[in-house]
């Protein structure tokens, strides 16, 4: 027998909490689920069970806003079930949920809000699978959640703001950063000027970080490509070189760093697995970072009573997530017949703020767009699908044999069939397909997502509440 509620919110980050805060006034039965053990999503990672957020001064104040969201939700009695994985969303808005105790149960909601945020994008290079090569996010989490530096000396690289933010964090906490290898060039940053004047505070934060890094004597190298991670059983050194404007490696610019830790990140991919599994339509919008859930202005997806907010509708940062959480909360209140007073005016204001943040997101996404030139440089023996040990050579052979869609490649090579179900390799496969078949990435859609969208014990699926009681 499944349990019921009014609203189920998947993800307790900025979007989920903002929605919960709006919804909590109404007396509706709201459940919020998050797989993490803390509340607040990526930005508010902090030691398990505490409320102390590690982080330095910021102009933008987004973390402060986030902490206010957490406090507000708590004050209104919103209970977040942490350590909880949502395994699937089924017709009739029934969620299959694995609780923190490992038991699996079902809950049916009148409305569902998908707000699962985003994860990092990875770029393969020779040796990237060596232990010691980690994501920038992983290093951030170690620092913020566990008070741990990723290594004594870390080499940082990649695209977007996160490598710089990480480098600053490492310095602040007494670690050493060997260099920051920026995939982008200085000229790419010109795009940021488009974000002025509205997003001045965000840009000031960026400038502030750059200033701190310079003052700490950390070398920031623009337009760098990581050529190889070397080591026997784990990372020992990294070779990088400079690229020209067209992506070609400039010979003679190779640098070798001795290090046991390389932290890399290449932007963000929305976690749209749950809406896709449920059957929500997705669309490819380059200005929103690629494949996102398709939503209307009130953030309802193509499935009735299923809403989406935050990074899943487009990569644009925490402020957009907060705004969209509020929009979704108000829309759901209306849908459930208890609209908030002043709702139409509130929504109008929020819509305008959302447009601003989407514009900012478009600038960031433009700046962080990866061109496909890296595909040519990947050696045949480099692993593309880590879960299944599928190499570039296998992919190329399958392409030559005529398997030219993500679904066909998945069948022919097994890429995407492993434990992570394509979360790491799908963006890579799409870029390879776009480059090798010269197609528009917008026409390369994801292969099917099936439940459970995260791994779950067979025994847990076999039990339900009745059998536990009996």
């Amino acid at each position: 027998m499944s349990r019921t509620c009014d609203v189920a919110i998947v993800g307790a980050g900025f979007a989920g909490l903002a929605a919960a805060g709006v919804l909590a006034r109404s007396g509706l039965d709201i459940r919020v689920f998050d797989e993490n053990l803390h509340v607040g999503g990526q930005l508010l990672r902090r030691p398990g069970g505490t409320s102390h957020v590690l982080g330095g001064f910021e102009f933008d104040g987004i973390k402060r806003s986030g902490l206010r969201l957490v406090a507000h939700a708590a004050r209104r009695g919103v209970k977040v079930r942490g350590g909880t994985q949502v395994l699937g969303l089924f017709p009739g808005n029934t969620l299959l949920v694995e609780g923190g105790d490992g038991t699996v149960s079902e809950i049916t909601a009148r409305c569902v809000l998908c707000a699962a945020g985003a994860r990092e994008i990875y770029l393969p290079f020779k040796g990237w699978t060596l232990p010691g090569v980690i994501s920038t996010g992983s290093a951030q989490i170690l620092i913020k959640s566990s008070g741990m530096l990723p290594a004594k000396e870390t080499l940082v690289g990649g695209l977007g703001p996160l490598p710089f933010v990480l480098a600053r964090e490492i310095c602040r906490h007494g670690g050493k950063v060997l260099a920051v290898l920026d995939h982008a060039g200085v000229s790419d940053k010109i795009w940021l000027l488009r974000a002025l004047p509205r997003n001045l505070r965000k840009l000031l934060d960026g400038a502030w970080i750059m200033a701190l890094l310079t003052l700490s004597g950390i070398r920031v190298r623009p337009r760098m490509r990581i050529l190889e991670a070397k080591g026997k059983t784990q990372l020992e050194s990294v070779v990088a070189a400079r690229a020209a404007g067209n992506g070609e490696i400039i010979s003679g610019t190779e640098i070798r760093y001795e290090t046991e830790c390389l932290a890399v990140g290449f932007g963000f991919a929305p976690n749209i697995e749950l809406p896709l599994q449920a059957g929500c339509a997705a669309e490819h919008l380059p200005e929103r970072g690629g494949w996102v859930v398709r939503v209307g202005n009130l953030l309802e997806t193509s499935l009735e009573n299923v809403f989406a907010a935050g990074e899943v509708t487009g990569i644009a940062g925490a402020r957009k997530s907060m705004i969209e959480g509020r929009i979704a909360g108000l829309a759901i209140l209306e849908r459930l017949g208890c609209p908030a007073p002043g709702s139409p005016q509130l929504l109008q204001g929020l819509a305008s703020e959302r447009r601003d943040e989407l514009r900012y997101g478009a600038v960031l996404n433009r700046m962080c767009r990866l061109s496909g030139d890296w595909v040519r440089r990947v050696p045949e023996e480099t692993i593309i699908c880590r879960c299944e040990d599928v190499r570039m050579a296998d992919i190329r052979k399958a392409l030559a044999d005529g398997f030219v869609t993500p679904g066909a490649l998945r069948k022919a090579c097994r890429c995407g069939l492993g434990n992570c179900q394509g979360r790491i390799c799908s963006p890579i496969i799409r870029d390879i397909l776009a480059a090798e078949t010269r197609s528009d990435p917008g026409r390369i859609s994801a292969p099917s997502v099936r439940p459970p969208i995260k791994a779950v014990r067979l025994g847990a699926l076999a039990e339900n509440e009745e059998s536990i009681i009996s």
Binding site: G48, E120, L130, A139, Q140, G147, L149, A455
Partner: protein
């Protein structure tokens, strides 16, 4: 390596491949293993490569270890507990 200026929870003991390892409440198993010098966790599916931590947030399933007898656990998603038994499929080093 642990950041010295951060205050931590109480000390706990993990047993990693039966060796006692000190950790602190509030840390993830990922962090505790890293502090103990473990970066290599297992071999890849076909046994061709060594693997360790990657995403740190439960997405990549690279950091699989056996915790208290249950295989296939993501070290980055579990907090340390006193007396926790962690088994790593160590490669032949």
């Amino acid at each position: 390596m642990r950041i010295e200026t951060i205050s931590r929870g109480e000390k706990v003991t993990l047993f990693v491949n039966r060796k006692a390892v000190t950790a602190y409440r509030g840390e993830t198993v990922h962090a505790a293993l890293l502090a103990a010098g473990c970066r290599v966790l297992r071999k890849s599916k076909t046994g061709a490569e060594f693997r360790g931590f990657l995403c740190g947030m439960g997405v990549c399933y690279e950091c699989l270890v056996t915790i208290n007898g249950l295989a296939g656990q993501r070290a980055c998603m579990r907090l340390v507990e006193d007396g926790m038994e962690v088994r790593i499929d160590e490669p032949d080093l």
